[in-house]
């Protein structure tokens, strides 16, 4: 499809501004003016609408396709929450209003949402308090690591090391490293859980924290989880819960009760706010009581009389993680989602997420290798090891599935499973959809046995076939540019004027 720049026709526009009702002022002066206008597309509103409508049709999405992308929790996004986020009382509210004198009373609704959401998340996870500020899951991890650093610093000790298992999400070690920590990686044992011996051996005075996902990225709930948190605590370390996989355990266990000190939640995963093609998400961080003092400012509090206010007086706080109170519109959608599901709905969501994943695993295990264990939580990890011996890689199976109208599972993750395919069906998918997907997976396995060559041209139903990614990375083309001489530069708005001077 043509780029929108390639549809551009000089002097066309898709926007109308109000007629100027104030006098035109003297230009700002050549010293401050840009040399020529930005080469933005010159297109009509219909051009824009048609362009983006057609682009949208070149996408797989939850609303079009089964999207079992492991560790991403691509569940159905209820539509009514979009309506709520668009309510003028929320979407039109300037974030600085409550920071003005007398502004608190004008933003009570927004503060109430944040306050109530904090209380709900505390109850769901068993933590003492939450900050809503982190703008994505990985941003929450970074916040958590900073809280850990502040905690140790406050105790007057310097610890430089963070432990992660080799099955962890890549964001865990990256967040720890970016906050200034050394990362120590622990191997996964034959049971799919962190190797306890290596874990115990790695304990030292230098260990600031352990970062864990539970259930982990292999879909396995570690039965020794309490033992792990106890051991870490005995060494003076904190334990961080990566909440990306919380969809497996709502109402079944809580990180706080398991001994975790910090947790981040991905509201765009567990609480069904749309992923938006890669964001915005929201990654609130919950902490146990000994870490509350370090939470970012501001915090939403409630006066005995019921009014909400922002508290800035936190001398031990790590400071500002985000400019305001988090991705408010995302938090709002998640809040509405929790209200509509209620207690039983949340529990059921986890139950059926786990049911669906186990169903997929059980029906596929005779066709694909299962990485670990006979039972999984909300996601299962299969391996295309058997198929790859015939020359059919996990990537080829992914492309086969695209032609069948399914978004592929996550592939090549976790890194410790060869030819990994990580399937997370979520609770909102019906048995019919799962059966169709399973049939397609079985067909792929059979075709791999019979005729491996068939895979190599797939997918054939998409706007492009397989992309040459190596070439794209080598010969970088990251930005459209007007071809030389295609259009003359427009005169600068201020070119003819002398430099403006003030007092």
């Amino acid at each position: 499809m043509k780029l929108i720049f390639e549809k551009s026709v000089k002097s066309r526009t898709g926007f109308s501004l109000p007629a100027p009702d104030v006098p035109r002022k003297k230009d700002i002066g050549i010293r401050y003016a840009r040399n020529h206008g930005a080469f933005l597309p010159e297109v009509s509103e219909l051009d824009v609408v048609r362009h983006y409508t057609n682009l949208s049709r070149m996408n797989f999405s939850v609303d079009n396709n089964f999207y079992p992308l492991g560790s991403c929790t691509m569940k159905y996004n209820p539509k009514f929450t979009e309506k709520i986020a668009c309510m003028e009382g929320f979407s039109g509210l300037h974030p600085l209003i409550p920071q003005l004198l007398g502004g608190g009373r004008l933003s009570q609704g927004a503060l109430e949402v944040l306050y109530n959401m904090e209380k709900l998340l505390c109850e769901i996870t068993g933590m003492a308090a939450f900050t809503m500020q982190p703008l994505a899951g990985a941003h929450g991890e970074l916040t958590g690591i900073m809280l850990i650093a502040a905690y140790h610093k406050n105790k007057g000790r310097r610890r430089r090391c963070v432990i992660v298992p080799d099955s962890s999400h890549g964001t865990n070690p990256a967040s720890a490293a970016i906050a200034g920590y050394d990362v120590k990686v622990i191997k996964t044992g034959p049971d799919g859980c962190m190797d306890m011996r290596q874990f115990k051996d790695s304990l030292s005075e230098d260990m600031a924290a352990v970062m864990l996902t539970c259930p982990n990225t292999l879909g396995i709930f570690n039965p020794a989880i309490k033992e792990i948190t106890d051991i870490a605590h005995s060494a003076g370390a904190l334990v961080y819960y990566d909440g990306a996989n919380l969809n497996a355990i709502m109402g079944k266990c809580r990180p706080g009760d398991l001994g975790f000190d910090l947790v981040h939640l991905n509201l765009h995963k567990t609480f069904a706010t749309p992923h938006g093609g890669g964001g915005p998400g929201a990654g609130p961080v919950g902490v146990a009581s000994q870490l509350v003092d370090f939470l970012p400012v501001s915090r939403v509090m409630k006066r005995p009389a019921g009014a909400f206010y922002l508290e800035y007086n936190n001398p031990k706080s790590i400071g500002y993680i985000a400019p305001f109170y988090g991705n408010f519109a995302v938090i709002l959608k998640a809040y509405a989602y929790i209200l509509i599901l209620g207690r039983e709905g949340l529990i059921k969501a986890s139950e059926y997420a786990v049911l669906n994943a186990n169903y997929c695993m059980c029906r596929l295990k005779q066709y694909y290798d299962v990485a670990y264990g006979k039972r999984c939580m909300h996601e299962c990890v299969l391996s295309a090891q058997r198929q790859s011996e015939n020359g059919v890689k996990a990537l080829d199976i992914a492309k086969f599935l695209i032609d069948r109208g399914f978004h592929p599972p996550t592939i090549y993750f976790p890194l410790i499973v060869r030819e990994a395919m990580m399937i997370e069906p979520t609770e909102t998918e019906s048995k019919e959809t799962l059966d169709e997907f399973i049939e397609a997976m079985i067909e792929a396995a059979e075709l791999a046995r019979r005729d491996a060559n068939k895979f190599h041209d797939m997918p054939v139903t998409t706007p492009v076939s397989r992309m040459d990614e190596v070439k794209a990375a080598r010969e970088l083309d990251l930005c459209w540019r007007p071809s030389a001489g295609a259009r003359p530069l427009s005169p600068s708005p201020g070119k003819a004027c002398p430099l403006q001077t003030y007092e």
Partner: protein
């Protein structure tokens, strides 16, 4: 209400296929002693009940104030087509486009967004979005530290205080030296910047227009930074780039900014959009996702996520950043917004914002005892010195139906009587005149 489609019969069939007798059995790995101590969540509500409850809560927020409050976050008009197009669920219910063939729509939209940011800023390469304007400055500073191997950052205090505070938080555990230089008569103090600029400096960070709305030309700062091997990072307000000198024209190596003005509602602080763009030489140091154009097997043009080897899912603790989710949907909104406005629309929008603000300045200045700070040209935001405490004036103005601006004493010492006033294209001549009348009355 829940969104689970299973019938009892289907659930039974599935349990049978798994070989368990109940759903509970699937959780028997979680021993009784690990079960929740409590789970007191309210009972489910209907969609109708949730909508009406939240509609009541929304009404507790005021949106009827005439808004002259900016401070980095502006009340611009959003064309309806932005909401409609970004509201297409093929966009908003997709995930990161890992599988290129079935995500060409998203990938092309991001490539176009990157191109528009490059066109606006004059830079060579942009990524597919960051969380917000503040984290964009942080990522830019980290890029400069990686690129130069140095650890000193000079920050102009004309940079939004919120962002400066964020930077301190983010870098508090790293071995980084910060120097903050003052603003003199609304502009960056060269003398102080140059005094601290040396061979240890990784970058000088400035903002244009700065927090006071003052417009400057930072070419000399960039040049001086380069002369000692440091980088120039300039944070810009994208609407101003419809008319103002670009960061590239000033010689910046990295440009960042808050993209909220490009089609994002204010939404009480988010989601917003951080943009970052850099010179060619720094491309591979750029954090986050980047979309590149390339060809498929048949030689057709297509788009892919590129340079992924820098990213956390592959490089883990050696990645250039920990970014996974970004603000792609906001980038899409910005792309649609910039397409609708186009080249001339952006020029006219900037001009209209500029003219309205200049008109407001002229009107406000007629109020006795009040002084407009005019030591620099400004773009759609300006500083006034009031004869009394700005907080009190703000409170009285709210009663008269205005969000009159941001009291600078909150962020700057000794500026308790100063108010930062923003005027966008949404404020009519009449709004401005009523604002001035109200202000005159409360003083």
């Amino acid at each position: 209400m829940n969104y689970i489609p299973h019938t009892e019969e289907q659930t039974r069939q599935m349990l049978e296929a798994i070989g368990v007798s109940s759903i509970d059995e699937l959780f028997d790995g979680i021993k009784p002693e690990l079960r929740p101590k409590s789970f007191n969540i309210p009972q489910s509500l209907s969609e109708q009940e949730v909508i009406s409850r939240l509609s009541r809560i929304a009404q507790k927020n005021i949106v009827s104030l005439k808004n002259f409050l900016g401070a980095g976050f502006y009340d611009h008009y959003i064309p309806a087509a932005v909401d409609m197009m970004a509201g297409r669920s093929e966009f908003y219910t997709a995930y990161t486009p890992y599988q290129a063939e079935c995500s060409q729509g998203w990938l092309q939209a991001i490539y176009e967004y990157q191109s528009m940011i490059c066109q606006l800023t004059g830079m060579d390469c942009a990524n597919s979005s960051l969380y917000d304007g503040g984290t964009a400055i942080y990522e830019a500073a980290m890029m400069a530290i990686r690129a130069t191997g140095r650890t000193k950052i000079i920050m102009d205090s004309g940079l939004n205080m919120i962002y400066r505070t964020m930077l301190y938080t983010y870098m508090s555990n790293l071995n980084i030296e910060f120097v903050e230089t003052p603003v003199i008569h609304g502009q960056s103090c060269r003398e102080e910047i140059f005094r601290y600029l040396d061979e240890k400096t990784a970058a000088v960070v400035t903002q244009n227009p700065n927090f006071f709305g003052a417009v400057d030309d930072h070419s000399d700062i960039a040049q001086k930074a380069h002369s000692v091997g440091a980088l120039s990072i300039i944070s810009v307000y994208p609407v101003s780039l419809g008319m103002l000198k670009t960061p590239a024209e000033m010689g910046a190596d990295i440009a960042t900014g808050e993209g909220q003005s490009l089609g994002m509602p204010l939404s009480f602080g988010g989601p917003y959009l951080g943009f970052i763009a850099c010179k060619q030489a720094l491309t591979r140091k750029m954090p986050g996702r980047i979309v590149g154009a390339g060809t498929d097997r048949e030689g057709r043009r297509g788009f892919v996520l590129t340079l992924q080897a820098r990213e956390q899912h592959i490089r883990r603790e050696r990645a250039t950043s920990n970014i996974c989710s970004n603000e792609a949907l906001c980038a899409l909104r910005a792309g649609i917004y910039l397409s609708l406005l186009g080249k001339t629309g952006m020029e006219e929008l900037a001009r209209l914002n500029y003219d309205k603000c200049e008109y407001a300045k002229d009107c406000v200045e007629k109020i006795p005892g009040l002084k407009v700070k005019r030591s620099s040209p400004t773009f759609n935001e300006f500083t006034i010195a009031l004869p009394r405490n700005a907080d009190v004036v703000v409170e009285k103005m709210i009663d008269k139906g205005f969000a009159p601006g941001f009291p600078l004493g909150k962020f700057y010492k000794g500026m308790n009587n100063y108010l930062l006033v923003a005027v966008t294209e949404k404020r009519t001549k009449e709004d401005i005149e009523q604002f001035v009348q109200a202000l005159e009355k409360v003083l």
